[in-house]
Symmetry: C2
Subunit: 312 residues, 2 copies
């Protein structure tokens, strides 16, 4: 079985949204009149972003989920994606499971595979994703203002806790691992939340390298600082019972961190309730640069947090 | 030096064409009203597509060139690209040369880097490229008609000959290797030719896996067959003096193969002359399926040609 058979058997489906899908030199996409295209690209490398023996269906899910999460962070509507895949060998059951996991999530978001590349090499997956957003509506990292609230969706640190358990760095009982492992291997991109935040959030980012590091991208781009309340971070950890440091420096969360002016508090609480999307207010944007931690008494804490960086 | 420093130092430049470039969760692209977006993605893996010790400037050039070549094959205008890069280590001179080679070619085509990903892993480069083309104007693989002429641009086989020489499978004198090696390492995408073929070519493809295999993608998609004239293929080999089988099964050529109705012969000859772009008529599209070779006497040859496939 060769490259083109693989593409035909596992990665070619009728085109619904693209003018031209898989199978030519280029795919053709016709954005709706006036709409902007939001584009993001994430590469997953074996041994670096996932274990080589990970469930291939989960891997197909995650490879797309981390890209959908970038669209979510921009408030963009998922449209299509390309898939470049380096494979060490042709393993048909693996390819079937991988493509099943990939397309299950793609279908959920009406996001269409329109092209890509397949080659031999160390297992590596690169998806580039395309979404639509009206001009001026995209959520950026650059709009946070002093006085804005800082929020995160869902819970944080779960993926990191599961990772450390799988690596033998900490011990979880089997039930707890079973509960947390999907957060590492099958993250849920917050696409609907991103959409709902258009016109409300002043800045947003998805949390892939840990809240502490990712939030600082917002601060830097917005030329502001921020203070996080440790008691709020601790509420994020109630389910797992671990230290809030996992919430700060976990990584692989694929939750959204965002900022919004205080007059949006009620609207956000209502949205959280009606959509059953946990949203937690965890701090505030300040004029003074830098990111700080504050305890229940309002005292600033002296501590450093290391965020995840693939080269550190 | 971490991931974000690498992006900032080597891969961030002011945005000219994109609404939003490198540095947020997504880039934002606003296609011109009514235009379609042509999208292609090519992955280059160390040891598979290039030698690990290849000149990084040439590698930066080639990684973009193979993608520009896909836009050329569609007749699309280059617009922007994303770059996902897995690096085994941080090597500053390597990154400087790689990005210099990449941007030199990008600037030549006014094609802008708008985002991507940088991670640790076995050296792997995936570029996804975006071009613009008016609706109905894209060159596809599917339009070849019986009676159409078959053409290729430039010369073929040079890259394969250089590759075999570098691998020690054949011997070239140093001058000849010096002449052919840039064809392997710094291919020239035929963007201007692709643009000129809009409205003329009935089908087109860029030759990356060898003419024999790539032409059959046109035949299959167009539901036709074809016959190639060996004497015409031999004229393609005059410069190198090698067998025409290198023209058929070379690969890494990044020339265009295309078909056009016979009444375009003069127009194409004039274009070839005025643009100094070699274009050679090498055969004809037939109704009978399959691809055949015909000698100077018009006799069909019995022989098989193996095209390049990363999994065979």
């Amino acid at each position: 079985m060769g490259e083109f058979d693989i593409i035909e058997q596992f990665f070619t489906r009728p085109s619904q949204r693209a003018v031209l899908g898989v199978g030519d030199d280029c795919a053709l996409l016709q954005p709706r009149p006036g709409m902007q295209l939001a584009i993001s690209s994430d590469m997953l490398v074996s041994g670096q972003h996932f274990f080589a023996d990970v469930d291939p269906a989960a891997l197909g899910h995650k490879a797309l989920a981390v890209n959908l999460s970038d669209l979510a962070a921009c408030g963009a509507e998922p449209l299509a994606f390309t898939l470049a895949l380096a494979l060490p060998q042709i393993d048909l059951p693996w390819l079937q499971a991988f493509s099943d996991g990939l397309f299950a999530l793609a279908d959920l978001h009406h996001c269409e595979l329109i092209g890509g590349d397949t080659t031999r090499g160390p297992l590596c997956i690169n998806i580039t994703i395309f979404g639509e957003v009206a001009p001026g509506q995209a959520l950026l990292r650059s709009g946070a203002m002093p006085g804005d609230d800082i929020y995160v969706s869902g819970t944080l640190g779960d993926a990191r806790i599961a990772l450390e358990a799988l690596q033998g760095q900490l011990t979880l009982d089997p039930q707890q691992l079973a509960a947390l492992r999907p957060r590492l291997e099958r993250p849920t991109p917050r696409v609907a939340l991103g959409r709902a935040l258009r016109g409300i959030a002043s800045a947003a980012i998805d949390i892939s390298d840990g809240l502490w590091g990712d939030l600082q991208h917002i601060l830097k781009r917005s030329h502001v600082g921020g203070t996080l309340d440790v008691p709020c971070l601790e509420t994020l950890m109630q389910a797992s019972g671990f230290s809030y440091r996992y919430a700060l420096a976990g990584g692989d969360d694929y939750e959204l961190a965002f900022t919004a002016a205080p007059h949006w508090r009620n609207t956000l609480a209502q949205y959280a309730h009606s959509s059953q999307t946990p949203i937690t207010r965890i701090g505030q944007i300040d004029a003074a640069p830098g990111l700080r931690l504050r305890d229940a008494a309002g005292e600033l804490l002296q501590q450093t947090v290391r965020s995840f960086d693939h080269f550190l």
